[in-house]
């Protein structure tokens, strides 16, 4: 019973605040309740109740007498006085205080939203109770120079490993439908597009946590041809009817029976199952498909308690060398912890769109910087005001105040302001969270704040800011000697100018780095979008026809579409640029010893080059393969021909070994970007051997009324294939989606750059206001003596512009290194042109100038009499 303990920190907190006379009784009572609830409602309910009880015990009748934390120099009455003076200062310098408040609040709100984001990211898979013991088997291509890794393994891997190694308690295969394609699911007269269909062994329930709402978790996937649905999916397919026992048809080929409904999984998982079909019902479970090649199946293992992942991995790597047929031994396996998959999958190819941990670092770095900048604002403004405050300090000290007392006064001021900032930041966060969610593609809820780590974190942040931002003014101002402080001439002692300048430089350096980064992000993304792709993706639709089984029906559909006036060209194909093709190897002609090179292949109909707009340099298009064909045709791209080491014209008619049986080169096409700009254009081939399905119908259209055309397509589609769901994508959109992550990062950095500049300018604005105010008389006299408005503005702006200029010089190398690294991820990238830096610099200086000139213009335009008569 005593396996569990009440939340440690709350227990400690209670011991700290509870009156000694009551502690034994109360702590005992709530602990007793805690164990009672564990038995009836479980651990998490008990913990929740425990926390609630403790918080409710935090009341005057329970709290011990807290010893006065300050020295006896500071009495409660004095604190009250401090509070009063602080509030008066806020009122007196309202604009200053507001600048501080808003700067702090925006910084905090940004930091909080990033914290929310990170919390979501680092808790991927945590809801699986055995997550710590689950590993994924990755396949590592040892023949590839870069050791290409794949998240998937051959079919045989999972259960071979389970049977061979006693450390492995359980294993399951997960196969994303048709290698990660969407499925067309048919129920009676309704067709649904399902992009989250996976086939898995029934052992999956022994690894991952599922909560069944209907059906039996122990038997749901035991029989072949069964599926289970998530709650939402069940609702989508069946409405409010009971789905159990209903029959669905997948891609018009596989009939499956619904045997269970499970509670929707949290969104932070790399396996967001909507539909899980029993693996045994899929043709990949047939004995002839149990091979050591074709790495398309995700294998998850549950290790026994206490077994060592690295040891198992080493044993596994040694063992497979004896098991796998020699000609397939181009790979080895490694094990990756389930919780690592989301953030630490750099260089591993899978279907799951992992995020690299570096993005998390970048974001947290930005959040910390923003917060720092907001704190610096406070310090800057506080020291700028120091001359005015100096007199106050002087008088206080003359009357007997100590440095400690004065420091307390300033800390209280900061603490009050920071508290206001925290409250305001919550308001801002509440208002902007929906936009942030959209930007980050997340579903973060404001309710996260109810978690202790967040509200306690917020309190921590408040304390931290108070000390960070308050320490400088508190320690610096309170150290004035009363004699100096009371002197009216502003000469000696307290010149905080250089520090203030340093802080401004720091702020603007960061802002400039962010401006430069934003510019490069924009330029690079623009470059990618406008770079010649080598084909024409505009107005090309890819209609998915996986749901249609027979080639005859596919061709009938193609014929029908061709009748439409808006349709220019059509072709059936296995895949299209932006999607992966089949991975094969091409070998040099007459050089059997060579290792060969990777070749991406795509089975297609004769018209494919036409539809895509890829230029044929030599030879002729493919022909339609016929039943009796034994020799197949390929069209290679220039890169592949270059590898073969012959000229395009020479190559025509030659036989080539590309794992396609006997195949003949009939044509050579120009290189085009079949993948993203992150990679160099590789070897590519179109062929007509019917080894792959024709999954897409590409349609080049010419119309101004796209929606109408698509409607016509859909009508024809439903007529030809009434039991398949209609789904399409535009080629150009599909290409753009390859850079979705970069665009997202660019948007986030843009947002942060804007915020940084905004906060830094708030500070600069207030500083300029202060500097101008101090020189009012000087300006008046200068004007009387004949200075022009331009002279005065120049005089007042010069100092600040110089600072911004220095920060620009500091920013250049930092931004240069950072952007160099970011751009390295792209095989095709923009040059690091000097003018980008220049623009960023001019922009920073311009913004700073505008900010400062508000104040200086006001001063320069005012009547000098007003200024001089003051004394």
């Amino acid at each position: 019973m005593l396996d569990h303990h009440p939340p440690k920190y709350f227990q400690r907190f209670f011991r700290w605040f509870c009156h000694a006379d009551y502690h034994e009784e109360l702590a005992g009572d709530i602990e007793e309740i805690f164990y009672d609830i564990i038995e009836t409602e479980g651990l998490s309910a008990a913990k929740k109740a425990y926390r609630k009880e403790i918080l409710k015990l935090f009341r005057p009748s329970v709290i011990r007498e807290i010893p006065w934390p300050f020295s006896n120099q500071i009495t409660p009455a004095m604190l009250k006085n401090f509070l009063k003076i602080s509030l008066r200062h806020f009122g007196k310098n309202l604009s200053f205080s507001l600048v501080n408040l808003f700067g702090l609040a925006f910084g905090l709100a940004a930091a909080l939203s990033v914290l929310f984001f990170i919390q979501d990211e680092v808790t991927y898979e945590h809801f699986h109770s055995k997550a710590d013991r689950i590993v994924r088997v990755n396949t590592v291509d040892i023949e590839d120079a870069d050791e290409l890794k794949m998240g998937a393994t051959p079919n045989k891997a999972a259960f071979y490993i389970k049977e061979t190694f006693p450390e492995v308690e359980e294993a399951t295969r997960v196969f994303p439908h048709n290698f990660g394609q969407t499925a067309s699911i048919n129920y009676k007269t309704n067709n649904f597009v399902e992009d989250r269909l996976y086939w898995a062994d029934s052992t999956i329930f022994n690894l991952f946590d599922f909560q069944f709402l209907k059906g039996d978790i122990h038997t749901a996937l035991d029989q072949t041809k069964t599926v289970i649905l998530s709650e939402t999916t069940a609702k989508r397919y069946f409405g409010n009817r009971n789905p159990i026992g209903e029959m669905l048809k997948v891609d018009n080929a596989i009939d499956v029976k619904v045997t269970g409904v499970f509670k929707d999984l949290p969104t932070n998982t790399h396996l967001p199952f909507h539909v899980i079909g029993s693996f045994s019902g899929h043709w990949f479970s047939r004995p002839d498909n149990q091979t050591w090649s074709n790495a398309s199946f995700f294998s998850y293992l549950l290790l026994k308690e206490g077994s060592d992942k690295a040891a198992v991995e080493a044993k596994l790597q040694a063992a497979i060398k004896k098991v796998i047929p020699a000609d397939n031994l181009w790979y080895t396996f490694e094990l990756q912890g389930l919780k690592d998959i989301h953030l630490f999958s750099r260089g591993i190819e899978d279907e799951f769109g992992a995020r690299d941990v570096s993005q998390i670092y970048i974001l947290s770095g930005l959040a910390i910087l923003l917060l720092l900048i907001a704190c610096i604002n406070y310090m800057n403004l506080a020291t700028a005001k120091s001359q005015k405050r100096a007199k106050e300090v002087g008088v206080n000290k003359t009357l007997g105040a100590s440095s400690g007392q004065m420091a307390t006064q300033f800390f209280i001021e900061t603490g009050l302001l920071a508290f206001g900032g925290v409250v305001l930041s919550l308001v801002i966060l509440y208002l902007f969270l929906p936009y942030f969610n959209q930007l980050a593609d997340k579903n973060l809820s404001f309710a996260l704040l109810a978690q202790p780590k967040f509200y306690l974190g917020l309190v921590g942040m408040w304390v931290l800011i108070t000390f960070l931002a308050g320490s400088y003014p508190a320690l610096y101002l309170s150290s004035f000697s009363p004699m100096n402080a009371l002197r009216t001439d502003q000469a000696n002692g307290f010149n905080a100018n250089s520090l203030r300048k340093g802080l401004v430089v720091f702020q603007f350096s960061i802002a400039t780095v962010l401006i430069i980064s934003t510019l490069f992000f924009y330029l690079q993304l623009n470059f990618i979008k406008n770079k010649k792709l080598g084909f024409e993706p505009e107005q090309v639709l890819a209609v998915r026809i996986q749901g249609i089984r027979s080639n005859a029906t596919k061709r009938a559909l193609e014929k029908e579409l061709q009748q439409l006036p808006a349709v220019l060209k059509t072709s059936l194909t296995q895949t299209f640029p932006s999607r992966t093709g089949s991975g094969r190897t091409i070998y040099k002609i007459n050089a059997p010893d060579e290792n060969g090179k990777n070749l991406t292949t795509c089975r297609a109909d004769p018209n494919i080059l036409n539809v895509l707009g890829v230029k044929l340099i030599a030879g002729r298009p493919l022909k339609q393969a016929e039943e009796q064909d034994t020799i197949f045709q390929v069209i290679l791209n220039e890169s592949a021909i270059k590898y073969l080491g012959i000229s395009p014209e020479e190559s025509i008619g030659k036989r080539v070994n590309a794992n396609l049986g006997i195949s003949e080169i009939v044509g050579v096409c120009e290189d085009f970007h079949a993948g993203s700009m992150h990679q160099q254009i590789g070897n590519y081939a179109f062929h007509n051997k019917p080894t792959e399905w024709l999954s897409y119908l590409l349609v080049k259209v010419n119309t101004n009324d796209l929606s109408n055309t698509i409607q016509q397509f859909q009508d024809i589609y439903t007529e030809v294939a009434p039991t398949a769901a209609f789904e399409y994508t535009f080629l150009d959109e599909s290409m753009n989606r390859l850079y979705a992550k970069e665009e997202q990062l660019a948007k986030v950095v843009f947002l942060f750059a804007g915020l940084t500049i905004f906060i830094a300018c708030l500070g600069l604005f207030a500083l300029a206001a202060y500097a101008t105010e101090r020189r009012t008389k000087e300006i008046g006299i200068r004007k009387v003596l004949g200075a022009s408005v331009g002279n005065i503005v120049g005089l007042l702006s010069k100092e600040f512009l110089l600072l911004v200029g220095i920060s620009f010089l500091i920013a250049i190398p930092i931004a240069w290194v950072a952007m160099q690294r970011w751009l390295q991820d792209f095989a095709y990238r923009v040059e690091m042109e000097w003018w980008v830096f220049a623009i960023a610099g001019i922009l920073a200086i311009f913004i700073a100038f505008i900010t400062v000139s508000f104040q200086s213009l006001k001063a320069a335009l005012s009547n000098p009499v007003e200024a001089i008569k003051l004394d």
Partner: protein
């Protein structure tokens, strides 16, 4: 000025202690009230009530046995003092008087 009147919640607590006889300690009182009144009472608000009652001299307490479930801590058992019983009685008498003074028809729920 020492207050000797009974608040409503304090009265409930006193009565509950009497109901529980020998077994009146924090958790049992809390659960009994929750059961009878069908509402959740936090240990904190119960503590405030008990502390007030003890101040007024209506209850007294002593430590009992410890158990592992309580992290080895002892229970504090409460009993109602004679003053407490008198206060309860007085409260009841006042109510009874008031009830008796109500004309019958006024109680009809319309």
């Amino acid at each position: 000025m020492k207050e000797t009147a009974l608040g409503e919640f304090q009265e409930i607590v006193l009565l509950t202690i009497l109901i529980l006889e020998e077994n009146a300690y924090g958790v049992s009182i809390q659960q009994e009230i929750a059961k009878r009144l069908n509402k959740e009472v936090s240990r904190g608000s119960l503590h405030t009530a008990l502390a007030r009652l003890e101040d007024k001299g209506f209850i007294q307490s002593e430590f009992g046995e410890a158990s592992a479930k309580r992290g080895g801590r002892r229970k504090r058992f409460y009993t109602v003092t004679n003053t407490g019983k008198a206060a309860l009685k007085k409260a009841k008498d006042i109510r009874d008087d008031l009830w008796n003074a109500i004309p019958n028809f006024s109680l009809k729920i319309v």
